[in-house]
């Protein structure tokens, strides 16, 4: 086999997600009353990147064969924190941004420490830490409110040179400066190896604990970037339980759509980004086709159900009945 075939096999999930996204986006823009204009793209990008950041965060953890059910709550918490801190002069704002990102990193590190060094199951541990993070968010913002440095917010949610949505540029920067270095580092390899087979990885002397810990911590950081962006879009902070939960849920859907295996060890954050953008576009299709907005939750739920059932296609590759019970 040629090299490109290996590459194709490895990237199949990502390419599939890209394909779904392009098809959905073409349907969306061709039916949108305004058509394919910079404005439409900007709005779609701004909505899409929020989920894309959270989905990237979820990917990091899912690759290690874990799951982070607190990711939506870290997103909410950092949104509330940003509505207090990211304000004022340039230096104050910069400090605020760093503090928010640091908080996200800390939340992720706490999750990682509990799961890896405390040896608790990720599901229960992150549901519990999610409750704590939501509680802190509620302490910070008992009522929706606050404000944000509007110059920075407008710059990051606007367009560069009148064409390219700035939020997409930030997303690209995060991919280049967080995801790419991580996935190529020893720690990133360790995270993949731990998700693929923890025992084999351990036997080969891979630093699985550090790799998994880095994955959880970086997941918190990426969720914080998402929370920061939410603040830039809404100009406020809100401790909304339902919205935090929805982001957790949608991040899992995006990860699955993006070809990341929930059993770990397979997939990439880039796939998850396209999965997230595709998921958002599918949700928005309802609006361009003039459906009752009331049907949106049901529609998204059904999409989610179908997306996760897609994973079951592996069922047909089972050759031996015992492979059912892995």
């Amino acid at each position: 086999m040629k090299d490109w075939r290996y590459w194709l096999a490895e990237q199949r999930g990502t390419l599939l997600a890209l394909g779904i996204f392009i098809v959905m986006f073409v349907i969306y823009t061709s039916n949108h009353p305004a058509g394919f204009t910079a404005n439409v793209v900007q709005t779609a990008a701004n909505k899409g990147v929020l989920l894309a950041f959270v989905a990237m965060a979820q990917t990091l953890v899912v690759i290690t064969a874990g799951i982070d059910l607190s990711v939506g709550m870290i997103f909410t918490l950092t949104n509330c924190l940003a509505s207090w801190l990211v304000i004022g002069t340039g230096i104050e704002t910069a400090f605020g941004v760093l503090a928010v990102l640091g908080t996200g990193l800390l939340c992720g590190a706490i999750n990682g420490a509990i799961v890896i060094y405390g040896r608790l199951q990720p599901i229960v541990a992150t549901i519990a830490t999610g409750a704590v993070y939501f509680g802190i968010a509620l302490l910070l913002r008992p009522f929706p409110g606050g404000s944000v440095n509007e110059d920075l917010a407008d710059a990051l949610t606007g367009r560069l040179f009148g064409v390219v949505p700035a939020s997409l540029v930030v997303l690209l920067a995060v991919v280049l400066f967080v995801w790419v270095p991580f996935s190529r580092s020893v720690l990133g390899r360790a995270a993949y190896a731990a998700g693929s087979s923890e025992t084999a990885a351990y036997m080969s002397g891979v630093p699985i604990r550090r790799g998994k810990f880095a994955a959880y911590a970086l997941a918190g950081l990426l969720a914080a970037v998402g929370g920061l962006f939410l603040t830039f879009f809404t100009y406020t902070g809100e401790a909304a339980y339902a919205s935090g939960n929805a982001y957790t849920l949608f991040s899992i859907a995006a990860v699955v759509l993006g070809g990341v295996s929930l059993f770990g060890g397979k997939g990439s954050a880039i796939g998850a980004i396209f999965g997230a953008l595709a998921f958002r576009t599918i949700g928005d299709l309802l609006f361009v086709f003039d459906f009752d907005p009331l049907w949106q939750p049901l529609f998204q739920g059904v999409i989610l159900l179908i997306a996760v059932s897609l994973g079951a296609f592996a069922l047909f590759r089972v050759r031996n009945r015992l492979e059912w019970f892995l």
């Binding site: 799951i67 509990i114 405390g118 040896r119 608790l120 199951q121 599901i123 229960v124 541990a125 549901i127 519990a128 830490t129 999610g130 409750a131 704590v132 993070y133 939501f134 509680g135 802190i136 968010a137 509620l138 302490l139 008992p142 923890e198 025992t199 351990y202 401790a239 339980y241 339902a242 849920l249 899992i252 859907a253 699955v256 929930l262 059993f263 009752d292 009331l294 049907w295 949106q296 939750p297 049901l298 529609f299 998204q300 739920g301 059904v302 989610l304 159900l305 997306a307 996760v308 059932s309 994973g311 079951a312 592996a314 069922l315 009945r321 015992l322 059912w324 019970f325």
Partner: protein
Amino acid sequence: MSETTLGGIAGRMPRFIRRADPAVLTAFACIVLLLFLGSLYSRSFLSPEYLLQQLKVASFLGVIATGMMLVILLGQIDLSVPWSVAMGAMMASAAAAYGPVGVAVAIPFGIICGMLIGVVNGIGVAYLRIPSMIITLATNAVAQGLMVVYTGGFSPQDSATGAMRYLATGFAIPGVPNAVIIWALIGAAMVFVLTRTSFGRAVYGIGNRERAAYLSGIDTRRVVMIAFAVSGGLSAFGGVLLAGYASKAAQSMGDAYLLPSIAAVVLGGTSILGGRGSYLGTVAGVILITLLQSILSVMQMPEAGRQIIYGIVIVAMLLLYGRAPASR
């Protein structure tokens, strides 16, 4: 397990303590500790009225946690609890709008709706082999969507029927709330099923190693599916009782029951990996969670503080005895 951890002291203890799970003992010890702390705060914590009231509130969680426990024993999890609860409550209330027949079938109808969610979960987990965490999150979203569509267009009938109110708040036996009796009945049935039937043994077997259970001739897929259906049905029944207690159904009424139901089961010493755990532990976990909630609300702790304490207590208790074995 308990013999080795308790060491020589265990030899001098009565047999029932020696055989008990340390997790269950810890949970009961925490209940006593909470009651003691509460009684320092206010005398009325030890009054029979207060304790009975707590037991009544606990019974709603108890019913829901019973279903959750069955699923967790299999090594799976049911995250569709919030909207199964809400769906059970809303559908039962909705049925009451259709004349006397509707009122009569309201409760079974609500439970059947919950069981349908459970059956979908069960098919996904058992036959399609989708991870339970994922499929139950998805069915939860679908159930939410259905309920939003159902309530959105018009104002539906949302008040509970007389029978629902009677089940939740009445007194069939003087002094004992009906809800407590229902929990006791469901709990007794669960203990019987888990310890005295082949279905119950199959549940433990699958939780330990599904492959081995399958090779021993158990139809593991059917068992898993039934367990999820029961869990959905019990969640919906919990919702019916809650609607009776509050005398109306509300959309978000189930949100407050997901974390507590998992926490109650896990704090009661049931392994989240499946295959190990007793119903007595779940009872202890349910009472523990309810007492904790009650004491926090008596101390007028705001919602934010409650969430934080809650999460910390669960993590702390799990770190005490819910840890996975060191992997080498």
